[in-house]
Amino acid sequence: MSKLNSKWMGLFCLSMLLLMLISGCAKEKKTYKVGAIFAITGSASWLGEPEKKTAEMIKEEINAAGGINGHLLDLIIEDTVGDETKTVNAVNKLIEKDKVLAIIGPSRSGTTMAIVPIVEKAEVPLVSCAAAEAIVSPVAERHWVFKTPQKDTDAVIRIYEHMQDKEIAKIAIITGTTGFGDQGRKQLKKYAEKMEITIVADETYGPGDTDMTPQLIKIKGTNAQAIVNWSIVPAQSIVPKNMRQLGMTIPLYQSHGFGNIKYAAAAGEAGEGIIFPAGRLLVADVLPEDHPQKTVLTEYKKAYEEKYREPVSTFGGHAYDALKLVIVALQQAGPDRAKIRDELENIKGFVGTGGIFNFSPEDHSGLTKEAFEMLTVKEGNFTLTE
């Protein structure tokens, strides 16, 4: 009797052990869910599309290499259409239904600001791909929010520093009327005084404008020594063309919104010599070999361009940095939202496409003005200024 019992007992123990082993295996395979929200369609789709493609590429790479500490990455991508309401809905779905560990995106500053209160309340880490400084400041109210693009103000500072080197003190600004242009106009005016630069003309143009000669004629009538053209819409390429038409030869500075080779192509010969600040992704090939970002930039560029057969853009780079940062944090923290946030805040010396990130409890943007390089257009290509 006792022999029989012990036999049954042994069988029972064995089956329990087997069961535990199986469930253990299942637990081992549990995926890490990360949400990604981009403006994949709509008027900001030129931001969202490369971001989505980049995120998908990284996901495939990381899963092919065995995932994060053995956990496969499950990237749940939602389209915001660049619209605030749709972004809010997408984020609520990701948090409530999908129970993601962290979120990357959205693409635009406006949509990011719309969801900041939501992620703060739900306590979900967010790494935005939009540039506005308000996204991460004041940092006390942005406990859960980080961002990867360089700051607009740093672009302004880099332009003004370049001007100081060239002894340019009186400038004209011409800005687009969209959010990006308007924000740039404010920052240009704000920093001009601090850096002893006088703005002698302040003009704007709409995204659908076809001719900027009236604005430029007005600028021509002033004693401006240089022009800053701050915009992110295609119409910005018309400004150099019109300047040439009017025989204006003063230097033209543009914003990092010019960082798309298509815009330089659209400006044609008139675009030669334009000076603008941008991340180093655009000049990855001509960067010196010993530059710390060289490997990351060339590898990302090569992988993206081989996979999608289109030129890489800095916007895709912002998504690259955002997702890679989340992956780094996940490796250290595991599936715990609060720990992921703490890890993100402590990341130091992370080499991304936008620059070298050093986060801290006081700084959730992680980049300095050194993340920008002053570039110029030479024979239709972007290159470093001498």
Binding site: S45, E203, G208, T213, I217, I238
Partner: protein
């Protein structure tokens, strides 16, 4: 010393104003072309075709593809691009406007809005989201006119608009089809009673306005660049010009287009570019308050219209 400075600045200002007017003509010529297209469809159907701006965009885009990747010479690509957009305009009418049994003006207008979204989306898939440019028809070297400069491309635009307006005037005045279209515009039931096939006239008007839109798109792309989203903004400004000139009056549309362009340009150059779009609209509103039928529209004709 002071005196000579004053004279110099005065000379300067006349040349500035001349330059501003020339820029205004460049800008206005684009509005005028779009406004022309609005009028032709309005005349035969009394609807505003909100897809008119998309025809302009499509014209530019087809031209970009024909000249760029296919490497055709300009003079070959031009008619092909116009023809392609004309066919799209006709297909649009046959598929969206024609099948309706008892269309109200409102439902027709909403259909054209849907059509514009469809065309824009289609263009996004076909050409992507990039901005394209075209080589100028002749040299890019500005022509010196008195003390101002004008791009040769602007001269091309003005010449082509002049020709289009002239041909349209001749067509409406002297051909039987043109007369039939005018009859439809004046009184649709009566035109139908005397044996004019009104539905065919509607098809023709879509073909014609698509062709004019395409021409506009092709000639402006070298100056203004083109992307899949451009149509809506061009359509809006062109619509303003069409209303200002008096809906249904092609000559009025052209004059109003130039007027809005020049007013915008003078405002941007002399006052501030921040207000230039507003000034264009204020002029439009003022004219409509004083003369609701538009600058050249007849009050009697506009009473007969449904919209």
């Amino acid at each position: 010393m002071g005196n000579s400075y004053a004279i110099e600045s005065q000379e300067m200002s006349t040349s500035i104003i001349l330059q501003l007017i020339l820029s205004g003509v460049t800008i206005g010529s684009i509005y005028a072309m779009v406004a022309l297209g609005f009028n032709i469809i309005y005349n035969s159907t009394s609807i505003i075709n909100f897809a008119q701006g998309e025809f302009v965009m499509l014209g530019g885009m087809f031209m970009v593809s024909l000249v760029g990747p296919l490497n055709l010479p300009m003079w070959v690509a031009f008619p092909i691009a116009v023809l392609a957009v004309t066919l799209i305009g006709m297909a649009f009418e046959r598929l969206c406007i024609h099948p309706l049994k008892m269309p109200s003006v409102l439902s027709l207008i909403i259909i054209t809005i849907a059509g514009s979204i469809l065309l824009k989306g289609g263009a996004m898939f076909a050409w992507g989201k990039e901005t394209f440019s075209l080589p100028h028809f002749s040299t890019e070297k500005p022509i010196l006119l008195l003390e101002a400069t004008i791009l040769p491309q602007t001269v091309w635009i003005l010449g082509i608009i002049g020709m289009v307006v002239l041909l349209l005037a001749l067509f409406f005045r002297f051909t039987i089809v043109g007369k039939a279209m005018r009859a439809c515009a004046a009184n649709r039931p009566a035109a139908s009673l005397v044996g004019i096939n009104v539905k065919r006239i509607v098809l023709l008007s879509f073909a014609l306005s698509a062709a004019i839109g395409a021409i506009a798109g092709i000639i402006i792309t070298p100056i203004s660049l083109m992307d899949y989203e451009r149509g809506a903004i061009l359509g809006l400004k062109g619509f303003g010009a069409a209303v200002l000139g008096g809906l249904g009056n092609p000559m009025g549309a052209v004059v109003a287009g130039f007027l809005i362009g020049i007013v915008e340009s003078l405002c941007a150059g002399l006052i501030s570019s921040h207000y230039k779009d507003a000034v264009g609209l204020v002029v439009l509103l003022m004219v409509l308050f004083i003369k609701p039928s538009g600058l050249f529209g007849s009050a009697q004709v506009s009473k007969l219209k449904k919209f």
